[in-house]
């Protein structure tokens, strides 16, 4: 590598510029969870490392360039801010990505960019880099590309054919704050490419039939012939007590689908953004309340079939009379509660109107929205665990989707006891106030109005406690599992 020093320099500048969620780089990632993993294609499900602040690294997340002609109030890369600037060349970025990927450092690339010259000019370069990566270097990993608002439909189309996922970030959750804080970005410039992406995906779905959420380059998995495990056994000599050579496939039984790859079997499917589109809303830079933000996110899921709407707590890095002062605390808890509320709507069957209403326009920062809801609705509780429907069980605090599944499966075999629940991973110190087991109530005599205090005390010690209550299998993935 001849240009090592130059690439190192660029890599540092463009990584640094991409790491705070306040620029075109905003990542669509959950801070406490795994980089964009939730509800996304399997390609992003692997953490390759954890930074010193405990975030999962799954993708190479950089800006293509941080040279910007725009001047968004909240952004470190805005034109009027003095900061070191750099830009990759298409080849540099493509090679870097490929070499990292081969070494299993990353699952793929998360590429966004400032606006160098014009949106289209910047996207042209990005497109060339992605083309090189896919076509010249044969990269089959994951690509998430950010579309710059105001992009020409033709370039959106071409990038969509190379990337797995696209996103156009909304950032500011209302027209008013957009006009005040990012005047060069127009609502239309954001919504048009978003609409184009949704329409293209719809069209392609109607052409090719179901299922397009996996990788764009798909290889047909080939079942190994039944006797293939012997193939290995025959060629491998036994050596001493450690020999497991002959048994390589034994335990995997006959269900093993080892994907044996044959170049001729590779079907390159010309698919547009097979992992869908996402967007992000910034929380705390402008004055919208939680009800407005949730309503907007709900509408985005409905109208654009978003794979994910991310929330990003605003980190005040830039001094501005229009923004919270530098050094103001970052509303991380609020961000977390919004994710939890969003999660309840998408996977637990809650309606936006149930979680927040006119008399509760903001989420309770002290308690998770599920407990809040349960405390406001004593008429549903206690529920008999052996009789409640699966939908009802999901609404009990202390029970997540996994333990709910276990409850429903096991009670088909035999009625459940209180001890069974403990073994199934139900968080009884919360659930016991909301259930009966075989007609018996285990919650003791805590009065309803004392419960709230009780739960707040319980969740004291906050963050680490949140992890402790999470199913261990999900650690490192997310602690958004709501119980």
């Amino acid at each position: 590598m001849q240009n090592f020093d130059a690439v190192m320099e660029k890599l540092k500048i463009l990584t640094d510029a991409a790491k705070y969620d306040v620029s075109c780089s905003s990542s669509g990632s959950e801070r406490r969870g795994q980089d964009g993993h939730l509800g996304s294609a399997a390609a992003m499900g692997i953490c390759h490392s954890w930074t010193a602040d405990g975030r999962c690294i799954s993708l190479l997340k950089v800006l293509y360039t941080n040279k910007c002609v725009y001047d968004c109030e909240y952004c470190v890369n805005r034109r009027s801010n003095e900061t070191p600037r750099a830009a990759f060349t298409p080849r540099e970025l493509a090679e870097l990505t490929m070499e990292f990927y081969r070494r299993n450092y990353i699952e793929g690339l998360f590429l966004s960019s400032a606006v160098d010259g014009s949106p289209d000019r910047t996207l042209e370069e990005i497109c060339e880099s992605l083309r090189m990566l896919r076509e010249d270097l044969g990269f089959l990993g994951y690509i998430h590309a950010k579309i710059i608002p105001g992009a020409d439909p033709a370039i959106v189309q071409r990038i969509g054919m190379l990337a797995d996922r696209l996103s156009v970030n909304i950032e500011l959750p209302s027209r008013e704050s957009l006009a005040a804080l990012a005047p060069q970005k127009k609502p239309d410039g954001i919504l048009k490419p978003m609409r184009q992406i949704t329409d293209t995906m719809e069209e392609q779905r109607s052409l090719t039939g179901a299922g397009n959420k996996y990788s764009k380059y798909r290889y047909r998995p080939k079942q190994l012939p039944e006797n293939s495990r012997l193939m290995i056994g025959e060629s491998a000599p036994r050596h001493g007590a450690y020999s497991t050579d002959q048994l390589v496939f034994r335990g995997a039984g006959k269900n093993l689908t080892l994907r044996q790859i044959d170049a001729k079997m590779a079907i390159k499917e010309e698919r547009f953004a097979p992992a869908g589109q996402t967007t992000q809303l910034m929380v705390g830079a402008s004055g919208e309340n939680d009800a407005q933000i949730l309503a907007l996110s709900h509408a985005l899921y409905k109208q654009f079939y978003m794979k994910r709407v991310y929330f990003s707590a605003y980190i005040p890095l830039m001094a501005s009379p229009l923004l919270p002062a530098v050094g103001t605390s970052v509303p991380l808890t609020r961000e977390h509660r919004l994710y939890q509320a969003d999660w309840l709507m998408r996977f637990y069957g809650f309606d936006a109107g149930e979680i927040l209403d006119a008399s509760h326009p903001n989420l309770d920062l002290e308690l998770d929205p599920k407990i809040s809801w349960a405390l406001r609705h004593p008429e549903f509780f206690p529920m008999e665990i052996n009789r409640a429907s699966p939908e009802e069980i999901l609404r009990i605090p202390g029970i997540g989707t996994i333990s709910a599944g276990r409850i429903v499966r096991q009670r088909r075999v035999a009625a459940l006891t209180y001890d069974d629940l403990k073994r199934m991973g139900v968080v009884l110190k919360r659930a016991k106030y909301f259930i009966t087991v075989g007609g018996r109530y285990y919650g003791g005599r805590v009065k309803e109005d004392e419960l709230r205090e009780h739960f707040i005390l319980q969740s004291g010690g906050q963050q680490i406690d949140l992890f402790a209550q999470t199913d261990p299998r999900f650690l490192g993935q997310t602690n958004l599992q709501i119980e």
């Binding site: 190479l60 070499e99 491998a236 007590a241 002959q246 276990r406 096991q410």
Partner: protein
Amino acid sequence: MEYLYDNTFDGLLTCLYEHVYTEHADSIISVRPDIQISLGRQMQVETDLEKSEKVAHAIETKISPAALRRAYNAWLTAEDGKEMDVLRYVFLGFKLGKDIDRLHGSETVRRIDVLNHKVSWEADRILGILRFSVIQSPQGEVLYAAIHPNCDLIQTVMPHFLNRFRQDPFIIHDVGREKAAFAAEGSWVIRSLPKDFSPQYTPDEQQYRELWRGYFKTAAIDQRRNPSLQKHFIPTRYWQYLTEMQ
């Protein structure tokens, strides 16, 4: 009766066979050169592929194919007493049939859950933290990774990397167990490979490692340093894998 077996899964299945047809096993231990033979009644079980096949077949049909997989995964761990755990699980399964895995309340089933979880947890971690280096071989470039897992899981992670690398040849070396999977063009074998195998890296290798370290350091947000959270996700015993931690 204490059974001695050769530390293969077929060997363990043969023990289960003898447990029924010869004499009850009270414990099953693997014969390793470093273990002194204890006193008491012992029987050396000769691994017999016909017997093990019968047991495997019985598990698949009388319980379920998933149960065989779970028994195998439990055996891949490095836990003491895993052999008897598997035995108890299998015989409970013969009694209960395919419903056994719904019985989360049973200690026996739970133990197998725990062992399975150990393997899948570690395998998941390895998928992410295993690091390939590009090495020079007479045939061209080859990817090489050294791992030191608790569980015997090379074969568990292979499908993932075969799928990823397709044509590219690669080697995954379980240094502690002195064996390695060699893969090229979609097929692979496991062979022994000594601890002290030391490959020759390509000239660029060091530079890419440095670029990765540079990326890793820059990506951390200093204001939010949280080493305990970092360790929570990636226990220090795995740090030796991580190029960026060295």
